[in-house]
Subunit: 428 residues, 2 copies
């Protein structure tokens, strides 16, 4: 048995997304917003800029008993932007030029062009503006954030079915337009069930999925109201559970079972990422950190500086890609490089110590490895990475052999480093 | 009119993908592989680990006149992995235990566990292995790369329709299994039309989409056999055109029109990214590069070290997040920091010069800005970034005001820096 939620689906339009050139950043964001509204998401359909495929996707969803369809993209000024047309036809409504909207869009375009110092062809601009000002009769306009307006399009007379919310493709525009979309009376009426669908996340580091499956099978509690999904990535096993508030107690029992069964590996019981834990732990202890990287090329520094407020704990780092820079900028002794080679536990440790010293940081990280595809030897194959984390309390050293390609080696090495930092600064 | 291609669709399963926690890396990769085979992709459908939604997606695609459906994910050992079952039912086939396959999977699991030093519960393991060895009767098994086998499942007796290829979710496993899938006789028979669908990409830097739309409308040549899509991202306008080999001449005419109309901004006519151009240009001229970053936190170094062979030109970089590190590691004079502040053209230039000097590089890059969300002032608001590229031939300075959030500011700043490097080392 499940509680009944409103259901929604997302249609992402754009050949650039369908063919994989651009990652879809909108549907993940929208899925999370819908969850907070208690709206369950059934599917995401990606179609190219082809009218027939968009029409087929809308027709399929119309039969799925949904309350809401959200489309993203296809609102631009070029001929391949055809979402407004297709949605109008789907809802049985004609398109009509909204002249006041045209005037507002023209003002926006003028302001944007001036700000960017672009000189634009007035005829081309007028054409682009007019195209974006055609609106299905009876639809509500969501004011443009960029140049494209959004739309809330209810089913036309005699077409019962879902309300369609038409949003622009650029993520910043879509996100800024969302509050207006979700408070629109037509949308509120379509998804009246606003009981939040809760979501809890537990993360394990270093536990295989089969062990988790066994623990779940042996769990004595009631799992019938919990939708549990597990996913292994970058060495972390992530367990995400979605449930209605009535199942809160069953969820707590599950978390407690996982905590007991995997005491050593369950590093996050309440949704925090390893990044959150490292940042909080450094801040609360007044510690600072600096990174010395070779094969990861700055990806660890990048990750540590992503959270806002990173300047409270992150002093910086050195990307010492060449051997000479390992010596010059991190003070790795050249005889150590000569004797053990750049990819060695000794050099990783010297990099950690060196960067800690140069930046005057509490914690230093050293990473050196063979990212590939070239540079591997029998003794030091592609994927071999040496890591060291030196903190006031301890020095951790680790060697990993990462399967996969250059990208995998870099990403996994950064993940291992993050967990080593977490362990090195954990309060005992 | 279009040439007729075989058509395929992809179903991505996994609540973690549907709800946006994990990015789908498989469908972009598969879309590109299909294109090389001359197979056109119609849609990508993402569904959660719910049987009814997977069934509905399969049923919808069965009516779309496709030759091939590819599924990814849902082959693991846990109860939420149900793709094999759903596809068997869709094709009208029963599942049967393949005991030889079970033995082979057990051997793989044993080897993997030993390699990782995991101690596993034998009952849990045997259960997981057996679940993965159930195969639809009449399907062909694709040997496991991880622990899950893939499947090629033809329609059962009386069920005309597409062949379904069932692949595992982890990208490395899927990619290694692909050659076996695509040479399987059932797949070869399903998509016999193997004329490559060509794809050409042109990229502009600093041209608005409306200008391009005007040029396309004014283009004298025949566009009817070209499927043109445009996409603006990180300041680059990307124009991707898909076409059958017979339209090669029409495509060349289009490229020539764009080249003439946008001589200053069309930096890539044959698909190269700015990253490719920078790497090639540095290598061919025997130049080296080093980066001094503040607000971008290592993201530029990360990007420059991503291509294989980056060590030929990338010496390294300093992430100078704190002011002290700007002085200590990059030699930025403290009075410059005091007089102009860390976010100033003067400091960006001193960072570029400093990192160039410290690493002995031909080209130095300095980036300093206000990434936000905190730290902005009226004079130096969030999004203000100062950049400098110093090369043997020239010194380029630029100030940008990036709209959006912390992530946007970081990504856009790196893009601007890449284009400044491209311009600084372009042969005149």
């Amino acid at each position: 048995m499940r509680w009944v939620s409103s259901r929604a689906a997302i249609i992402v339009t754009g050949t650039e997304v369908l063919t994989g050139r651009v990652a879809d950043r909108n549907s993940p964001w929208l899925a999370e917003q819908l969850r907070l509204l208690g709206v369950d998401i059934g599917q995401v359909i990606v179609v190219g800029d082809r009218r027939a495929d968009l029409d087929a996707a809308l027709a399929f969803l119309a039969t799925s008993g949904l309350e809401l369809i959200i489309t993203t993209g296809g609102l631009g000024p070029t001929a391949d932007d055809l979402t407004a047309e297709a949605v109008a036809a789907f809802q049985g409504r004609e398109l009509e030029l909204d002249e006041q909207l045209e005037t507002r869009i023209a003002a926006i375009v003028e302001r944007l062009s001036a700000g960017r110092g672009w000189t634009t062809d007035p005829v081309a601009t007028a054409h682009a503006v007019r195209k974006q000002a055609y609106v299905p009769i009876g639809a509500r306009v969501l004011e443009p954030v960029g140049t494209a307006p959004g739309l809330v399009v209810p089913p036309g007379d005699g077409c019962g079915g879902p309300v369609v919310v038409v949003l622009p493709g650029p993520p910043a525009e879509l996100q800024q337009m969302w509050p207006a979309a979700v408070t629109d009376p037509l949308v509120v009426a379509a998804v009246p069930d606003r009981e939040e669908l809760r979501q809890g996340t537990v993360r394990l580091w270093g536990t295989p999925e089969s062990e988790l499956a066994a623990v779940l099978r042996g769990h004595g509690g009631d799992l019938s109201h919990l939708e549990i999904t597990t996913c292994l990535r970058d060495g972390e096993l992530e367990i995400v559970t979605r449930y209605h508030p009535g199942a809160e107690r069953a969820y707590r029992e599950l978390v407690s079972t996982i905590e007991t069964s995997f005491a050593g590996s369950a590093f996050s019981l309440h949704g925090q990422t390893v990044d959150d834990i490292v940042a909080e732990s450094l801040c609360s202890q007044g510690l600072t950190i600096a990174t010395g990287e070779s094969c990861t090329g700055g990806a660890l520094a990048d990750r540590l500086t992503r959270p806002s407020g990173a300047s409270r704990f992150m002093l910086g780092g050195v990307v010492a890609y060449s051997n000479k820079s390992k010596a010059d900028l991190l003070g790795v002794p050249t005889d150590l490089l000569d004797r053990h080679g750049a990819v060695s536990p000794e050099v990783a440790e010297a990099m950690a110590a060196g960067v800690r010293d140069r930046f005057g940081a509490s914690v230093g990280v050293g990473i050196t490895g063979v990212a590939g595809p070239g540079g591997g030897t029998e003794a030091k194959p592609v994927g071999l990475v040496q890591l060291c984390v030196a903190s006031p309390a301890t020095t951790l050293r680790r060697q990993v052999q990462v399967p996969g390609d250059r990208v995998d080696v870099r990403i996994r090495s950064v993940a291992v480093a993050m967990h080593m930092v977490r362990q090195a600064i954990a309060r005992r």
